[in-house]
Symmetry: C2
């Protein structure tokens, strides 16, 4: 049978991420391609006791259907936590999603018709880009510079695309570059979005992970006009496997997103919501996060030192102040997809830069490295292998 797939389904999908996850599981290869948080940061013992208690003491709640918005006491606690951090106003509302990815999915469905434009940082997170593509949105990339997006280019793109519905941004320790938008830049970007009536989709899963513990004000904290959809996730601060996140936005936007949430998966699994809630009630998550900041800061420094020591001197790199990623560039005409194959045969993998581009077919000399899950010695070993392979490839 010839299947008559929808136009949306004909573009292929996000197989690049699936490919990356495959590499990450092969023990004979050193993978600098991952994006996982470190397993040792998961409070597994605490969660084991919490899960057991919840299932024994509140089986009705943990195992039965519930409402699409999420469990009310959980929503209240998350709202209070955000308000304490300066995020949210009276017109804002909050609901629970099955991981941050679902927030992007629902926001796109609520705002984008086929042919509408989504403005994004270039490069950007492939899971978001593929989501926008899946709704037939046209991607318009805006280059990133050292302190965030190029605001003049953003304004120009907004002028040129009156059907731009969303500007998608990862303000803190951006995936894939590690770049953080400065406060001044955030103000300018917010003003541009207000001026052009473009909804600002703030995806900030790494915001809790500055190496020095200093967090910058979110877009949501500046949002006097109700144009910011703020996506949050427990994936990097508690566990990604639980798939629990939350969204704060103007209540009119949330109402639409919840309508679509209900027909996407009815509600986020109750046990998972209750586990996150109980963990937050019972333990000091900020103390745990502080340890993660130190851990990732150390690993990042190990990687940056190894890059300086082992990679060819022509290779430039970002110097992240938080998060999980370093962005490197060969600064020549080579396409790193080709380089990646060469290096994979030499037991080291990374993600080629084209993966994160609005035009995935164009050659790209940049690539992403990740340091979050490996032992320090293995990071050094991986970068050393990579350096050797690159020097051989480039000579």
């Amino acid at each position: 049978m010839e299947y008559r797939f929808s136009t949306k389904a004909q573009g292929g999908g996000g197989s690049a991420i699936e490919e990356i996850l495959k590499y990450a599981g092969d023990p004979s290869v050193i993978s600098l391609a991952g994006g996982n948080p470190a397993t040792e940061t998961f409070p597994s013992k605490e969660l084991a006791e919490i899960a057991r208690e919840l299932l024994l003491e509140q089986p009705d709640l943990a195992l039965q259907y519930n409402t699409p918005r999420g469990y009310a006491p959980f929503r209240e606690l998350l709202t209070a936590r955000m308000r304490k951090a300066g995020d949210g106003r009276d017109f804002d509302d909050l609901f629970v999603v099955t991981g941050g990815q679902q927030a992007i999915d629902l926001a796109t469905k609520v705002f984008c018709n086929e042919g509408d434009v989504v403005l994004t940082e270039e490069p950007s997170f492939i899971g978001a880009l593929n989501n926008f593509r899946s709704y037939g949105a046209k991607l318009v990339g805006v280059p990133l510079v050292e302190d965030g997006v190029d605001v003049a280019a953003l304004e120009k793109a907004m002028d040129a695309n009156p059907n731009a519905k969303l500007f998608y941004t990862i303000p803190s320790f951006h995936n894939p570059t590690g770049i953080t938008a400065s406060v001044d830049k955030r103000k300018a970007v917010y003003a541009a979005c207000v001026k052009h009536g473009v909804v600002l989709l703030e995806d900030d899963p790494y915001k809790e992970l500055p190496f020095d513990g200093v967090k910058l004000p979110s877009y949501k904290s500046m949002d006097t006009e109700g144009i910011v959809i703020c996506c949050n996730s427990f994936s990097k601060i508690l566990s990604p496997g639980l798939r629990v996140g939350w969204v704060m936005a103007h209540r009119d936007i949330i109402a639409k997103m919840v309508d679509f949430k209900q027909i996407a998966d009815v509600h986020t699994p109750m046990l998972n919501q209750l586990m996150a809630l109980t963990y937050l009630q019972r333990y000091d998550i900020d103390a745990a996060i502080s340890k993660m900041q130190t851990l990732y800061g150390r690993k990042c420094k190990v990687m940056l030192d190894a890059i300086e020591q082992y990679l060819p001197s022509t290779v430039t790199h970002t110097t992240p102040k938080g998060g999980l990623f370093v962005w490197c560039d060969l600064n020549d005409g080579h396409d790193t997809r080709e380089v990646a194959q060469y290096c994979a045969a030499r037991q080291v993998v990374f993600v080629p830069g084209s993966t994160f581009m609005t035009d995935m077919d164009a050659p790209c000399s940049a690539f992403r490295l990740n340091y979050s899950t490996m032992a320090d010695s293995r990071i050094v070993e991986g970068v050393k292998l990579l350096g050797g392979a690159l020097k051989e490839f480039l000579k």
Copy 2:
């Protein structure tokens, strides 16, 4: 700010289900409006020990990211279980979803452009209908008769709608009617779908719940041509709150659905997959299901007896052989939305039939009753209250 929502987001959404779930939580009202499985059927003690063990012994697996298709050993076990039941051929593949609702969402996205037709039984499950609506699909309802859909009407609808992409059906103990398609009817429906190149979306969450234990062959078991997408769920046989389901279909369809799964929520929560897997490995789920069949069979009989005793004699009803629902009809010009308000003021609620119709605005004299969660005495009390209210309303 005036939000420029997508066309998809302008139709409102599935608020009817959210309303029903609200009623279900009010203890002063007897709700015959629910659709939950009975909490006492959840193996909460077993799941409590399983969850604790998994989190202590395999935290990497339970709490870390995994692949969009789902955990491989879980997929293998589900495939084996389906094969044993006669479902699936070499061209079929299987993946894990975050509850059966997500299967419908992904199938619709893979097949439907705006304006494409989805054929559905009339009435049908509102969560599915709202999903089809959310992608801009046009719904064409085909009436249900005693032993399944009216096949002549289905063929006629297929002839009239060459852009029909999907036929959506709940073959066993249908929601909202409780009707089961006979084997002959299944064969005729399958042949019609093959003839017209329409993909058959088989949503069968109640199939394990025949009161007499006798299961009919699924559409998947007849599927020599690879046109059946078979959606399955643990919601009615283990726990709905865990949000775990699975889909079997031709591998070309599954590949497209997995692409969209990845950008919907990355993967179904790992702890939840592992809990279902471990439960299946360690306990006899078929023995547990057998007890559910007896339980629901008894409750259904209690409700049917009460209906005969207390409802006006002009009210007709289906006689389900499994599942959770009875469908009643006033057989007059009254719209049961109006009747429902009248009854709610008298402390008893049900779901008006219009909720389940392709045209939700048209008056409908039918309504859905549910018996699965209440004590027998409360079922009787609820139907008695309803009977009194109906007699008063109709006089």
